[in-house]
């Protein structure tokens, strides 16, 4: 195909450029713009109106001189070069190597937008991923093929937690486990921390890293997760790896989307975010999954920081509407010194119900998790009450809840960031702690399980 080249830009407006007099240009086509400085910038067509194309420029339009610029429409969509040699490499948001090791060789090009998975081709995710963290494995179990975000806030240890999950994850016994890390608008030191830690994780393959740093062009953030997921899909569904994709910080992604929407003069919906934020995020998150007749799986662990710690803000809210649960971190737990500072009542893994218990983890797991949630939620109520009437006024049962709550947070919720607990150990610990409560309070547990597992000293 002969690629048309045009000279001069009609207008430049924020991240957008307008090119007039074009012919045969397709919607969403990839574009290359070379300014008089000789630097190529990539873009994509976001609107085509008769002979005018509106192009979104990933690198931004700063210093772009309309007159001397040349524009080439590439006749294809944005693509990423894929081959097994991407393992261990570092790319920018557009999938270009940024590690100085040269182009990806012997590969093929793949459209970064991917294509939707036919629901009939999916297999329902059912395999337990061991993370070694008691609170996650027991109460919000991560499942292979799941999308389970971490809702965090500035200053909370979400990075540490993500690294611990990524490095302790045991998806299968083999070495066909791979991590794809995509940093979206993150600080350089955070990126360095992740890359270092993931490289040391030592299990499976060296991670594939996609970086768009805080200092990198904002609009490129829109491409970064797509490029990364294209690589992840390739590793999972073509090469058969069990891939864990860590994406951080999705809040920066959403802000870039808002910036573009504003530049396009679109009608905003909530808090200035475009009305299609939901669909846009879904086009990323729905790329997780397991396919019926292919090996491998794609699990997503997106991280986002909630603006003003507000879980009803559109970013966490719409994410929660798409993902299969959420792990919420709490400033309060963090202040008490708990790590991981998980807000248990607010957190949930929606896929765990079919993937725990007999044949998956342990037979007592489902009921035990239900009891822990119930008892811990009672702890909150009693703490609130104690705050009003004073602890001394509480009855014996209520007091036992306070003891249980403290012990639970200290010993079960908290653990070291290198500490890797077996699921059996976590479950036994839970039984030991439940023994603090009167047996009559354990009404979510069938009596056979209580007889079998509850430490005898409590069987009054």
């Amino acid at each position: 195909m002969s690629l048309a080249e045009y000279r001069g830009l009609q207008a430049v407006d924020g991240p957008l450029v307008f090119v007039d007099g074009v012919r045969g240009v397709g919607y969403d086509e990839a574009v290359e713009i070379v300014g008089p400085d000789g630097r190529p910038r990539r873009g994509r067509v976001v609107l085509i109106e008769e002979d005018r194309a509106v192009v979104q420029v990933f690198a931004g339009t700063a210093a772009l001189v309309p007159d001397g610029s040349r524009v080439r429409f590439l006749g294809r969509h944005l693509e990423m070069a894929l081959s097994p040699s991407i393992l261990g490499r570092t790319f920018d948001g557009l999938g270009e190597p940024r590690d100085g090791c040269g182009a990806v060789l012997g590969g093929f090009q793949s459209d970064i937008n991917g294509r939707p998975i036919n629901p009939m081709a999916r297999a329902y995710p059912r395999d337990f991923i061991h993370t070694g963290l008691s609170v996650i494995d027991t109460l919000m179990t991560l499942i292979r093929g799941q999308k389970l975000p971490i809702f965090s806030s500035n200053g909370l240890p979400h990075n540490r937690l993500a690294v611990q999950i990524a490095s302790q994850s045991r998806i299968t016994s083999g070495d066909n486990f791979a991590v794809v890390f995509v940093g979206i608008g993150i600080r350089n030191d955070d990126a360095a921390y992740f890359i270092e830690a993931l490289r040391d994780a030592g299990k499976g393959q060296p991670p594939v890293v996609f970086l768009n740093l805080a200092s990198d062009p904002v609009i490129e953030r829109l491409a970064a997760p797509r490029t990364a997921l294209t690589a992840a899909e390739y590793l999972a569904f073509d090469l058969g790896y069990h891939v864990l994709v860590v994406m951080t910080d999705m809040t920066n992604y959403c802000e870039a989307l808002r910036e573009l929407a504003v530049a396009r003069g679109e009608v905003p919906s909530r808090k200035g975010y475009p009305g299609y934020l939901y669909s846009d995020l879904a086009s990323l998150y729905e790329r997780a999954g397991v396919l019926r007749d292919r090996p491998g799986s794609l699990t997503q662990l997106p991280i986002l920081t909630m603006p003003n710690d507000d879980i009803t803000h559109p970013i966490p809210d719409l994410t929660g509407f798409i993902t299969e649960g959420q792990i919420v971190l709490s400033r309060e737990q963090d202040a008490q010194g708990a790590y991981p500072p998980v807000d248990i009542p607010a957190s949930l893994s929606r896929l765990m119900k079919d993937s725990i218990g007999k044949g998956y983890t342990r037979d007592d797991h489902p009921d035990l998790a239900g009891q822990l949630f119930a008892s811990y939620s009672r702890v909150q109520e009693i703490r609130a009450l104690a705050g009003v009437v004073g602890e001394d006024e509480l009855g014996a049962t209520e007091k036992s809840y306070l003891r249980f709550g403290d012990a639970f947070e200290r010993r079960f919720l908290s653990q070291g960031d290198q500490e890797d607990r077996e699921i059996g150990v976590s479950l036994d610990l839970a039984w030991e702690l439940l023994a603090i409560l009167p047996r009559t309070e354990l009404n979510r547990l069938p009596s056979e399980l209580v007889r079998k597992h509850l430490p005898s000293k409590a069987t009054k």
Binding site: Y27, I48, M120, A123, V267, G275, S279, T312, A346, A374
Partner: protein, 593 residues
């Protein structure tokens, strides 16, 4: 006539084109060399606007637009039951075979597979006069469902020829008839119907029977009528989908249409994997044999999302017209409204609230109005019960979609974040929810389950309402200072919440027959009245509360729905315990508390 237009501009799913002077509003079109499907949504002289049901990547100005001569329509006939279709009615199974795990686009209109064979049993003879809605033939589509092939609305005449009994595929001609004007009409086995046009009925009826759902909080507290309309609003993760799945599994409808509208792919897969293995309590057959799925997952094109609702409704009406009770679940109507908003935004229409177009309420009204209990054209009774999930941003029920939906529904199952966080499932709030059908269906429960249904239910609700006040006091001063009558309210309320309202979707308690629902309600009320009498005589509540018998009330839901005699056993033990407590106390003289 050469009806080919040309693309002028492309903006996401919205395409402007010229050369459309002979095109009709809402006509279906094939666009571009890839033959992407869309429909005309605005006409202005020679120019017009199309919305495309497929991704528009790569589409260029100048590419052709071809009119297909009919509005967006869905193919109706045997083969729908057990199938999963995309938003515009294309079978995903066929697409899977054609394009593999990742969906492709283009290729124009695709019909329901015509290659499957059906055994057709004719029900009319040559020479018979038939009118719209007349039964022409039947097909045993699944063991659970007889597919009735009817004369489509607007047709009548004399049968010239009817398909003989035997196996025929979807391309067969069902009948030929001569209409009133002497013209010969050919009637294919498989029909089409424009999705945005409601199928006509003879008469609309008032709801009177409940749609039984096997969910205690619904059947017992906030019942839905056959042909009724309900909404389930709730923030993320509060249980909309699980509730909808529960209703799809256990409600005693003849057919279930489940629309996954802008939601997760895995939830569709879950139904596909789970339903064939689950057995309908009424018939013992796999649930998939009465289920039709429509899937436009959140990563599929938005215009098809907007259409998916109508596709599902039309299929539901088609089976209603056979004289069946159909239940339709739409998860989530908010995604549909957002699809409207997105298209509207691209059309640069002036938004009303939060970017939604001003016609949102009228579209919602049209949607919910298609539910109802009716006399069909053929004189049968059928119904479409419509249950829509609503996903309010931030869980805020004052947002436009929830607010407008409330105007058109009569049953509101409000999911509450606090309940979900406390793992009280289903998290249906007993204070914010309501059912306007409760009074209408009460006579049915009283004549089919127990004459005391209404009385017991009212008492249970009164206790919970009173408990709201008691809890407020407890929050302030703690429970210990309350008089025993009020503490009894708190105790019974907690039994109601745990033992009755909670119902796990994933264990043996997933389905609760109405007789068991009543048995639990009744026993709790019975206990309340007996305990109240004791407390009134000065027996300390403490003595009653800390008994094994009261603890067992929390577990009534664990009793097998087939073994209701166990309730009698528990009642006897409770009786004798309470009697003993009363006797000992009163014999022991005055209260020594």
């Amino acid at each position: 006539m050469n009806r080919i237009g040309r693309i002028l501009s492309v903006n996401g799913p919205v395409v402007r084109a010229t050369g459309l002077s002979s095109f009709a509003m809402r006509e279906m079109v094939e666009v571009g060399e890839l033959r992407l499907l869309g429909e005309v949504i605005r006409l202005d002289g020679n120019e017009g606007v199309l919305q495309l049901f497929e991704e528009t990547q790569g589409l260029r100005p100048g590419e052709p637009v071809k009119g297909l001569g009919e509005p967006l329509s869905v193919t109706l006939g045997p083969g729908l039951v057990g199938a999963i279709l995309d938003g515009i009615g294309r079978p995903l199974g066929a697409l899977l075979e054609k394009t593999g795990a990742f969906m492709d686009r283009g290729g124009g209109l695709q019909q329901l597979e015509g290659d499957r064979n059906w055994e057709v049993f004719p029900q009319v003879r040559k020479g018979e006069i038939v009118t719209e809605g007349s039964l022409l033939a039947t097909v045993k589509e699944t063991p659970l469902l007889e597919h009735r092939l009817l004369l489509p609305p607007g047709m009548e005449g004399e049968i010239l020829e009817i398909l003989p009994q035997g196996h025929h595929d979807g391309s067969a001609v069902l009948a030929r008839l001569r209409d009133g004007f002497g013209r010969e009409r050919v009637l294919p086995l498989i029909q089409r119907w424009p999705v945005r046009t409601p199928r006509p009925v003879r008469q609309r009826l008032l709801p009177e029977e409940p749609l039984l759902t096997g969910q205690r909080v619904i059947d017992g507290y906030f019942p839905i009528a056959r042909g009724g309309v309900a909404a389930i609003p709730g923030g993320f993760g509060t249980g909309k989908t699980v509730t909808q799945h529960q209703l799809a599994k256990w409600s005693d409808a003849k057919l279930v249409v489940y629309i996954g509208c802008g939601e997760r792919g895995n939830e569709m897969t879950q139904v596909l994997e789970e339903f064939p293995a689950l057995v309908d309590p009424a018939t013992g057959h796999p649930l998939m044999e009465r289920t039709i799925l429509i899937a436009n997952t959140s990563n599929m094109p938005v215009a098809a999302r907007e259409a998916s609702i109508y596709t599902g409704l039309t299929i539901a009406e088609y089976f209603r017209d056979m004289g069946y009770d159909v239940a339709l679940m739409a998860d989530s109507t908010s995604r549909w409204a957002e699809a409207l908003r997105e298209i509207s935004g691209r059309l640069e229409e002036i938004p009303a609230e939060e970017g939604f177009p001003a016609y949102l309420p009228s579209r919602l009204a049209e949607f919910y109005e298609r539910a109802g209990r009716v006399t069909t054209l053929g004189g049968e009774q059928g119904s479409v019960t419509l249950i829509g999930a609503v996903s309010p941003p931030g869980g805020d029920f004052t947002e436009p979609v929830t607010r407008h939906t409330k105007r058109f529904i009569r049953c509101f199952w409000a999911l509450e974040r606090e309940l979900a966080s406390a793992r009280h499932y289903p998290a249906i709030s007993w204070t914010a929810s309501y059912s306007e059908y409760a009074a209408e269906v009460r006579p049915w429960f009283e004549s089919h389950v127990d004459p005391r249904w209404g009385e017991v239910q009212t008492e249970l609700r009164r206790i919970l309402a009173e408990d709201e006040h008691v809890q407020q006091v407890i929050q302030l001063v703690g429970e210990d200072v309350l008089p025993d009558e009020q503490r009894l309210i708190a105790l019974v309320a907690s039994i109601i919440k745990t033992g009755f309202l909670q119902q796990g979707a994933f264990g043996p308690d997933s389905y609760c027959p109405p007789a068991k629902t009543f048995a639990i309600m009744e026993l709790i009320v019975h206990f309340y009245r007996r305990a109240q009498a004791l407390v009134a005589k000065g027996v300390p509540l403490r003595l009653v509360r800390e008994t094994q018998e009261v603890a067992s009330l929390y577990r009534l839901r664990e009793i097998d729905g087939e073994k209701l005699e166990e309730f009698e056993e528990i009642r006897r033990r409770l009786e004798s315990r309470l009697e003993r407590i009363g006797a000992e106390r009163l014999a022991g003289g005055r209260d020594r508390r």
